[in-house]
């Protein structure tokens, strides 16, 4: 098991390196191939209407005229050991893991990410608990009551949930639940010092989208599992139906649910862009979006890498959990 985890960790690091290389190439190589000069790139770092001297200084400082592999090497080196940026007037120390420095906001990218991460984490945590509990429970009930009114209604709502985008359900709920009926207070959350229950509405909207999928997934899995021979055995032992369903049925249906759950959590942790934008919550998604809108290349790169990190980590956790859930995986 330990060897398995170590092997997986090395794999995860390798994967992150590949992702970073591809991301780096997209941001620095592709524009160049498309005719974007290093002056243009430097201009994105510099701010509004820079003069030639500033551009040259930036190019020099960031080594924009170096070959791209050298630049990539520096980028990775900064992540591992940190870096120091010289703005001409002052030296800015950027300790490892340094993902670059944004001259638009005059902040290191890492600081900005660390600042925003707790917000996105809160959104994800609340929504994930909601969608997992709601989705799986509805899925089980639907499977056990297959073909009844409950099943059909639940699956109908689930279809709506999967189909309706957050900016629709989000804006609608803001308009009615917050502004017209004033059932919930306005969504106001900018850090761990705020009351997390201010996030109730984004949680519900995000969970609605995902719970729908989990309900369908759980229902399908349970329908299959409940026809298995070992379920018949469990009943033949005289176990109460509740034990048969939850201990024997659900346990065996858990694997696909857990897989999707891990990936979804990783994805949302990287930034729930639409949710954060809809409810104006300053999380990682907003940061990435702002970075894109302002052509703040280091921020976009940093946010992309962070999102990739979360997804790779989530994958790793799912892989390890396979072994925990399924002894057959553990013994191979």
């Amino acid at each position: 098991m330990v060897a398995f985890i170590v092997r997986r960790l090395f794999g995860a690091v390798g994967l992150l390196l590949i992702i970073s290389a591809v991301t780096f190439a997209i941001f620095f190589l592709v524009p160049r191939a498309a005719g974007v000069t290093t002056d243009d790139i430097a201009g994105r770092f510099a701010g509004k209407q820079p003069d030639a001297a500033t551009l040259a200084a930036i190019k020099d400082r960031f080594g924009l005229d170096d070959p791209v592999p050298v630049q990539y090497g520096k980028f990775i080196k900064a992540i591992v050991v940190g870096d120091t940026y010289d703005t001409g007037t002052e030296k800015i120390d950027c300790p490892a893991p340094c993902l670059g420095y944004s001259f638009r906001t005059n902040q290191s990218v890492t600081d900005q990410l660390v600042d925003r991460a707790p917000v996105t984490f809160m959104i994800t945590a609340g929504a994930a608990v909601l969608w997992l509990v709601a989705g799986v429970s509805i899925g089980i009930l639907s499977a056990l009551r297959r073909g009844t009114i409950f099943d059909r209604a639940a699956m109908g709502v689930a279809l709506a949930g999967v189909s309706l985008p957050i900016f629709f359900t989000g804006l609608l709920s803001l308009a009615f639940i917050v502004h017209r009926w004033e059932i919930l207070p306005a969504v106001n959350y900018s850090g761990p010092s705020d009351n997390p229950f201010n996030l109730l509405l984004p949680w519900i909207c995000l969970a609605f989208l995902y719970a729908a999928m989990y309900a369908r997934l759980t229902r399908a899995g349970m329908l299959e599992t409940m026809n298995e021979d070992f379920i018949r055995t469990a009943r033949a032992k005289g176990l109460p139906e509740k034990t048969v369903v939850l201990k024997h049925g659900l346990r065996a249906s858990l694997t696909p649910i857990m897989t999707v759950f891990g990936l979804d959590v990783g994805l949302v942790l990287g930034g729930a862009i639409i949710t954060e934008k809809t409810f104006s919550i300053p999380g990682l998604g907003q940061l990435a979006l702002d970075g894109v809108n302002q052509s703040d290349l280091p921020v976009v790169l940093g946010a992309t890498m962070t999102a990739a990190l979360f997804i790779v980590l989530a994958n790793l956790v799912v892989d390890i959990l396979y072994g925990v859930i399924d002894p057959r995986v553990r013994h191979n």
Binding site: D229, F230, R232, A234, K237, G238, L239, R251, A252
Partner: protein, 361 residues
Amino acid sequence: MARKRQAELVNDTGETAAGRGAPTAFLEVRDLKIHFPTDDGLVKSVDGLSFKLERGSTLGIVGESGSGKSVTSLGILGLHNRGNANVSGEIWLDGTELVGASQNEVRRLRGRKMSMIFQDPLSSMHPFYTVGKQIIEAYRVHNDVSKQVARKHAIDMLGRVGIPKPDQRVDDYPHQFSGGMRQRAMIAMALSCDPELLIADEPTTALDVTVQAQILDLIRDLQQEFNSAIIMITHDLGVVAELSDDILVMYAGRCAEYASVEDAFHRPLHPYTWGLLGSMPRLDRERSERLMPIKGTPPSLINVPEGCAFNPRCAYCDLTGGKSTTERPELLEVEPGHKAACHLSLEKRREIWDSEIRPKL
């Protein structure tokens, strides 16, 4: 609805009509019908089956796939989904009627008073729980004991069914057992609460021959130890000959012939039983002699043939003057303890068996 009416009927007759109340036999099945409504029609998997079984004795139920053997056994355990199976008739187990009983009542008898060994031990055990946990669970649901006591009992049971180092194997998962060991573990689980009725549904089909013999020995030994009644469901006549006292031959959801093992093998009185015997490979005969398979395939249980269900495949149905295609034969007791459902006269059947069938077996 049908089930409910039936239950009321049982209560009425149980009090008034002599001989229709609680039976004296340990297990008595009366006119059991298990029908499944489907989009294609009503599947009559079991259609009027009756038999009795005493403690300490073994009944072998034989028949082709789809003859209703497994459906019957699941019916006795009450394992059919009441939403999609119509079960009627009576099943009396030690004075308790099961068809009309509540699901909870039957559940409490399952595993304790009656239990079942399934055919494929790999798919019948939960892949994610250790063998020990599954036995402990079976024991604790009916016995109010601590986990430690139950675990000790599980190790005892595993040892009793011949699993070496049971104190270590108890923590293994089903996939870590070999096929024969898995079936032993399954038997240990089924026997963990000392059931009085044990139903074994093709317990040796998935196993190789040497292991088969061991498992059958084991079941026989355990039966002597617990004095349980056993229903052995199989399509392997060798297994039946080995273990059973009586044989019930099923065809298309009904009993074709019921006899002691002795009678069934030496004086069978139903053409279908002859066919089964003719299809059985024998090691004590010349290899050059061909088997005599039953022609055709088992009938659809939605459109069971008119008259005798076996008539399209029966070589002798012409000898009944057309009765076999129009009238369903009654299951009649032709000799003490020997019943058969056939329109042929008893003399004719004896003559055919002696002159045509037995010499070729």
